[in-house]
């Protein structure tokens, strides 16, 4: 159904029924987007399995899909994003250019990968 696949961006919630956690994870992952997911369980094994298998940029355990904090990376996979993150330390990589510098103060030509004697 389209209501299960397409972003509506309004107060419309689609409810689905599954047999077990494995099916829940498959259903979660079977959309083109991958921003946030949430699992409510008291089973620590189920929680850790879901944390790794849910194909989203963010996963919440025993909390809803919303509630990002400023100091952790924020963003999604698949059609949600292009690999960059906002927030956290990662965004500082996005907005700066890395410059690499070598300073050779030996006074002689040293050839990288060639002058490798002990």
């Amino acid at each position: 159904m389209r209501v299960e696949q397409e972003e509506i961006f309004g107060p419309v919630l689609a409810v689905l029924k599954v047999k077990d956690l494995a099916e829940a994870i498959r259903v979660n992952n079977d959309v083109k987007y991958g921003l946030s997911s949430s699992l409510y369980t008291r089973d620590v094994n189920a929680a850790f399995r879901a944390m790794t298998d849910l194909d989203t940029g963010i996963t919440y355990v025993n909390a809803p899909t919303i509630g990002a904090e400023a100091h952790l990376p924020f963003g999604g996979v698949k059609q949600t994003g292009n690999g960059h993150r906002e927030g956290g330390w990662e965004v500082y990589d996005f907005y700066s250019e890395t410059k690499t510098i070598y300073v050779d103060y030996s006074g002689t030509l040293q050839r990288a990968q060639i002058d490798t004697e002990l």
Binding site: V15, Y33, K99
Partner: protein, 394 residues
């Protein structure tokens, strides 16, 4: 007469070159006009870019810890103005006051985080393979960053982009969503009062298809950050790819909450009400699918319908309101259309699915009842498939 707002270009508040403006109205009461904002053109953007280049020349040479101190003052001013900005934000965007206060708080947190980062914008020194040689890297600013932001977090998302961009020594050109230009205006006022050199930030209001596009296509803007629809993001990505621009995209979601049979159902109920109906479902992380274990499905749907039916719709400035309006008429039409589609495809409306009737407070706003659709079945992810096709995972 509603006030007329200006762009901030080249260190001053200026009218758009065209003299054209658009209206900004309260989504909870379309008779309430907040102001008229510049419908800017490529000519305005050109001036902004020339100025931002001068701003970059100055700001990129300012030490990062000093840049951080400016952002610290930004955070402090946002603390002082939290309530005023939250109220202005609710008036133009619609979400309830508790949420717009949270939106400002996110900006405060982001400012203080950026301020700290000013003293630890670390590079690296690593051992060289050769004697008497140092090998290292450091971070340096890139240039002009073009920031295109959405309506749903009028302050927080601009700060997510702007504060790190500034801390890293870039100048910024800010193109906010047309639905929330007033909050953008207030944010730029704060930046200037905090002591940010005037040409480091440029605020250019207007349409994405005009100003946003010109920003993306301009060769002197090497960094673009966009939050919005996947469709627009794809078009931006194509342009930035050809021009070798650095691009950050934050786009659509179809976020699921899963509730297993061993879960604390009361906790999950509080969670889904907040996740699905907070911000009237207009967060990119909003819960739009609820995946229930079959053993608790019936019970949980009943619990959810009972509670969702008690959520109070109302103007966000009313402290008793739980859920505000949608952002505009098209958003409400889209919701109604999707509910119709769901019904045709065999889903049932457990609760909601209507424009509220009979409440005078809601008659002039874009309100829509919190809606729960049950009996939703899985379709294949690929829209190319016909609905009669079976998915291998089903």
């Amino acid at each position: 007469m509603a006030p007329e707002f200006k762009n901030f270009i080249a260190g001053e508040w200026v009218a758009p070159a065209s003299g054209d403006y658009f209206e900004n109205r309260n989504p909870a009461d379309w008779n309430d006009m907040i102001g008229r904002f510049p419908r800017s053109s490529a000519a305005d953007l050109k001036r902004a870019i020339g100025s931002a280049q001068r701003g970059f020349g100055q700001w990129s040479k300012t030490p990062a810890p000093i840049r951080g101190q400016v952002l610290l003052r930004v955070g402090q001013l946002l603390v002082e103005r939290k309530e005023d900005i939250a109220r202005a934000m609710t008036r133009e965007m619609g979400k309830v006051l508790a949420e717009t206060r949270g939106d400002v708080q996110e900006g405060i947190d982001t400012a203080f985080y950026a301020a700290m980062e000013g003293r630890k914008l670390f590079g690296r020194v690593v051992p060289s393979e050769l004697r008497n040689k140092w090998a290292m890297s450091y971070r340096r600013p890139i240039g002009l960053a073009g920031l295109i932001t959405p309506f749903n977090f009028p302050l927080a998302i601009p700060t997510w982009k702007m504060f790190p961009a500034l801390l890293c020594g870039n100048s910024v050109i800010f193109k906010p969503a047309e639905d929330v230009p007033h909050t953008a205006h207030l944010l730029v006022e704060v930046l200037l009062e905090a002591g940010l050199p005037a040409e480091v930030v440029q605020l250019v209001h207007g349409q994405g298809s005009v100003v946003g596009r010109a920003l993306v296509e301009h060769p002197e803007v090497p960094v673009i950050s966009f939050t919005g629809s996947t469709e627009t993001g794809s078009a931006i990505g194509a342009t930035c790819g050809k021009m070798h621009k650095r691009l950050s995209l934050e786009m659509g979601g179809k976020n699921a909450m899963m509730v297993m049979d061993d879960a604390d159902l009361e906790l999950a109920l509080d969670g889904v009400l907040w996740g699905a109906f907070g911000t009237t479902g207009q967060r990119c992380t909003a819960t739009s699918r609820l995946i229930l274990h079959e053993k608790i499905h019936e019970r949980f749907v009943q619990m959810l319908s009972d509670r969702a039916g008690k959520l109070r719709l109302g103007p966000g400035l009313d402290e008793n309101a739980d859920v505000g309006p949608l952002i505009h008429e098209e958003a409400r039409q889209k919701d109604a259309e999707y509910v119709d589609i769901a019904k045709k495809e065999g889903a049932s409306v457990a609760i909601g699915g209507r424009i509220p009737q009979g409440d005078k407070r809601l008659e002039c706003g874009w309100f829509y009842e919190p809606t729960v659709l049950t009996g939703v079945s899985r379709a294949c992810a690929s829209s190319r498939r016909k609905s009669s096709d079976r998915c291998s995972l089903c």
